[in-house]
């Protein structure tokens, strides 16, 4: 079989392509943010998201409740990415045998809060011993009017929700042994899946959409490959989180470059028909910024005030370190 939705570059995606080739006709519809299951005339969107201690989070950075909130939100964001209405979450939790009850209760509270904020119910789970904390969330949503990665057309406007760079600003501070600025930290530990904005974008004829989990360039890259188009990003237009400006100054990077490689944003990137007006976009429940245009061809073309540039690659869990 081939992937229903082609994936962009990256070692992780090479592996997924390898799996799809092995599974052949046993696999269905891999490669979008969610799987889609038809049931009784309805369509459900389903996604699974694995968060592992010291890979996705560190205990000295976050409280157990924040670990739970963040892991659940990462999964719920996959529903937002296809404009599906959150219904249910299943939680598989791994922890050391002697882990204090307070840790597990805290994670459960965080998962519960994220579900409450998204309007989803916790309907099941599994609990296992493990060497370190594992928080794996499977989410299910109603996808009556799903927006997928494919569908963008030359001439479409590329929009992004919110501001980019906050999570990486927090991560940069922690990695240096420092303390993140409160707003940047909040973006990292309590991300806000963009369910309302997703509904707005779907209602405003979004043709293709994805959430930013691995960095703008990487995720936009998937959307472009899936849609078989190219994208032109005007880097000067990128909406920057205030703390990303300060963090980029410290790393000596251009702020837009810093923001573009920030992962786990859970902001949405969408392709909208050119006919959708600025006045329409201004009514979004989360600010939308037009950062570029879909073009014919392939790949991402970046410019900074008209001069050629390049966007940094995203985070890849399986790239050689």
């Amino acid at each position: 079989m081939s992937l229903a939705t082609p994936l962009g570059a990256g070692a992780e995606f090479d592996r997924i392509r390898g799996f799809a080739a092995r599974w052949r006709e046993r696999a269905h519809g891999l490669g979008d943010d969610c799987a889609f299951i038809e049931s009784g005339g309805d369509v459900l969107a389903v996604s699974i998201d694995l968060a592992v201690e010291n890979v996705h989070f560190r205990r000295d950075w976050m409280t157990p409740a924040e670990i739970g909130y963040r892991a659940a939100s990462a999964a719920l964001s996959d529903l937002a990415a296809v404009a599906a209405e959150p219904l249910a979450l299943l939680l598989a939790l791994g922890a050391p045998a002697r882990e204090p009850t307070a840790t597990l209760d805290g994670i459960a509270d965080g998962v519960g809060d994220a579900c409450a904020d998204a309007g989803a119910f916790i309907v099941g789970g599994d609990l296992s011993r493990a060497d370190s904390l594992i928080v794996d969330c499977c989410v299910i949503g109603r996808a009556t009017a799903a927006v997928r990665r494919r569908g963008a057309k030359p001439g479409d406007r590329i929009v992004v929700t919110g501001q980019l760079g906050g999570p990486l600003a927090a991560l940069t501070a922690w990695r240096r042994g420092g303390t993140p600025a409160p707003a940047a930290r909040q973006r990292f530990v309590r991300p806000a899946p963009r369910h309302e904005a997703a509904r707005f974008l779907a209602q405003h004829r979004a043709r293709a959409m994805i959430d930013v989990s691995d960095g703008l360039a990487a995720d936009l890259g998937h959307l472009l490959v899936a849609s078989d188009v190219a994208g032109h990003v005007r880097c000067e237009a990128m909406p920057l989180h205030p703390d990303a400006l300060a963090a980029a100054r410290e790393t000596g990077e251009e702020p837009w470059r810093f923001a573009a490689r920030s992962g786990e944003e859970y902001e949405l990137v969408a392709a909208l028909p050119d006919a959708v007006t600025d006045a329409e976009l201004a009514a979004s429940p989360v600010p939308l910024t037009v950062i570029g245009t879909i073009e014919a061809g392939s790949g991402v073309r970046a410019t900074l005030n008209g001069a050629a540039g390049s966007l940094p690659p995203g985070h890849d869990h399986f790239a050689s370190a």
Copy 2:
């Protein structure tokens, strides 16, 4: 909130009860083998099952394909436990960054084989770095005529599919540094979720059902608590795997006791109305054995040839070691 389906004893279940108390009205229908989601007039059953290296499997015991087959089958068995028809599986896979591709490909092959055997498609997943192997499977099935844990009535016959004790015979051999007998090893590394038998039992008026994952006594205990009844198990009637007999001789245990504490069997235990005849049971695609009777009251009462006995507790991941 209270659990929709009450759980039996055990430290793991104490924790789940604790979660349910914290989540209150944010949780729905916890405590059965699957969660049930209504969609477009249909009902879907969903379950998640986490398999962790050195907790659920060891690499020196099993090939990567066996690790994958077993992890997927454990999840698929939750669908059999409620007589749901397997539709789809999502695979979240964690592995060390430098893990050879062959390991991941092997696990993927095993998951694919288990799905092929169950008639399910692989529709999505997630791939992450982790310190050790993590195989987390979320399964979705059609539950048009679901059989739940609750519903057993005094006078019902308790039946079990297949033979018990094979997986523990394999485990016992490995733990002693030995080599399991081939048939016992096969029961451990390539368990067979009882989808056909589940369909047969549902068609033959099964009133309550569960799969044996933590040991007969533990899982029957959940069914009894959920149904608010007691059970009488005639230990001499327990169907024993041939290799369990030899293994029990070595441990000096009574074979039925050995078989009753064997977990990860993925056999089904069901309560059937007394009116279902032996001739009807004989037509099952997997041999069924009547091992006891549902009674009024609570708890499991065990007898051996008429004399009072007791069944061993099941495996509990969170009991103090």
